[in-house]
């Protein structure tokens, strides 16, 4: 059940400048969350930021009650998380949203995860699900430069398949967009993915949507929109849709198949 969990910050880990992780103690949340879901987080006593911010649950340990988030510093909300002293509390409203689906996948269906920059955030927990179900999965992790790949070490040991790194400037891994790195391998003569899971900025999605359509690969994107509430009350988070004008991303998403999104309207 969705609830507002008061959680204590246990640990902050910096991966690269502006890229860090925060681990809270939130047992009930850790038990209930599934991959791809998010929380609306509030650092108490502040008017800045005024609204909560959405964060995908990066990992959750039902046994220890620990819940981890991967964060990229951008503005007041993320700055508040960067300043939060270990041992002090925040409110985590969740779990929210629909989450990824691994239904119908098994040891014979290879899948791909495509992440751009902070888009790596939701995937550690998903790789746990892959492992549990014995689903072979490759990770494509891209960014503008090496610094934006800061979270790559977070996947050491949890990716059973191949890990492909790419940077726009070629400073680490293959040079170019992560969508191209994916396209080169996913091509017909490639591994033949049963499903693609992706998270990243909208331009990456738009490019990836074309690729998966061409190859006819089913896929699920973790979308991002400015969210006022996270649970369907404000209607602030809509994304232009295909079968209807707008998709309410916090309720019907954030995980959406690209064919439901009207990319030309974004």
């Amino acid at each position: 059940m969705r609830a507002d969990h008061r959680a204590v910050l246990l640990l902050r880990r910096v991966f690269s400048p502006g890229f860090f992780s925060v681990t809270f103690r939130a047992p009930a949340l850790a038990r209930e969350v599934s991959p791809g879901q998010f929380v609306m987080l509030e650092v108490a006593g502040r008017l800045r930021p005024y609204l909560r911010r959405a964060y995908s649950v990066a990992d959750a340990e039902p046994d220890t009650g620990e819940v981890e988030f991967l964060v990229r510093t951008i503005g007041p909300g993320t700055a508040a998380l960067e300043d939060l002293a270990e041992g002090s509390a925040a409110s985590l409203l969740g779990p929210l949203g629909n989450g990824f689906s691994v239904a119908g996948l098994g040891s014979r269906s290879r899948v791909a995860v495509v992440a751009g920059g902070i888009g790596a955030a939701p995937f550690p927990l998903l790789f746990r699900a892959f492992a549990a179900a014995g689903i072979p999965a490759d990770l494509y992790l891209g960014g503008r430069n090496a610094a934006e790949l800061g979270f790559r070490s977070r996947f050491d040991g949890i990716v059973r398949g191949e890990t492909v790194l790419s940077t726009d400037d070629g400073s680490l891994g293959e040079k170019g967009f992560v969508t191209d790195a994916f396209a080169r391998r996913a091509a017909p003569d490639g591994p033949g993915y049963a499903r693609v899971f992706a998270c990243g900025p909208m331009p990456m999605f738009a490019a990836l949507a074309k690729v998966v359509e061409r190859f006819g690969v089913a896929s699920e994107f973790s979308t991002e929109a400015a969210m006022g509430c996270g649970f369907g009350a404000c209607l602030g988070c809509v994304i232009p849709g295909r079968e209807k004008p707008f998709v309410i991303s916090c309720l019907e998403g954030p995980i959406l198949p690209p064919e439901r999104i009207a990319w030309e309207k974004i």
Binding site: M1, R2, A3, D4, E42, L47, R48, P49, Y50, L51, R52, L93, A225, A226, G228, C229, F231, G232, A233, C234, L235, G236, C237, V238, I239, P240, P245, F246, K265
Partner: protein, 321 residues
Amino acid sequence: MGKDLTAQRPLRVQLGPLELKNPIVTASGTFGYGLEFTEFVDLSKIGALCTKGLSLRPHAGNAPPRICETPAGMLNAIGLQNVGVEVFLAEKLPRLRELGATVIANVWGDTEEEYVAVVGALEDAEGLAAIELNISCPNVDKGGMLFGNSPAATASLVSRVRAESRSTLVVKLSPNAPDLIESARAARDSGADVLSLVNTFVGMAIDPATARPRLSFGTGGLSGPAIKPLALRMVFQVARALPGAPLMGIGGISDLSDVLEFLAAGASAVQIGTANFRDPGVSERLVGELAAYCSERGTTVSELVGRAQRTGTGGEAGAEG
């Protein structure tokens, strides 16, 4: 908070024909259709909830981005997206009845006829405590001039609706009206049972990187704690100008102290808006805190209403600086 406390009579308030078990109401557009909050709020515990603004037909609303944060508040240009009155009656209202919610239907239209039609469709619906008219909408028959922005347009709309409806009518005033007191008077004289104030203030934010407005619509409505001092002043002035007119105060209310300020200014009830986004359980918690406050002091909410009016000072628009 204990059932006993929150069920106490000391919290009951009477706004003209509208009796509420307590003065804590949730504001339209910030509480969905109520059903989004069932895990956070026992809907039978709060005074009432106002639905998202309903129109005759389902409405898609504006293109994103629709919201952006501002200091101690937010801008929104949702564009009145809603499921339409039919779906509301078929799918939402029955469920709200089961949950024991006191429901105020917030409605809007593009023309006076549409307002009349929406109100008509809701007229005999079981379990509606009142209908709230959002008059901060463009009148397409008048070149998009907002119904709420002239006393004449307000009077024409409200008397038209009043003539066709037996429901308890709440008229929700816009703080952007050139003369709020005249608009309030016009609404009251045209048959409004209750006045609720205020709606959002027209504001704007620009992204310096692109030099474009942050909202696709351009401007948006400012809400949240930032507007509280302005809304409170407006409630105080309308209460002073229209003694005896039942008022619901709205604007940035987030904690018990805010509630007490609006009651003291002259509101008999308050609406909690943007605070529901930050803190979905806030409305029920405020009922409990208000109950505790009254019992500790052996007072009632009715006794708290308008106390600042009686202290005499202030209220005039003053020289700035």
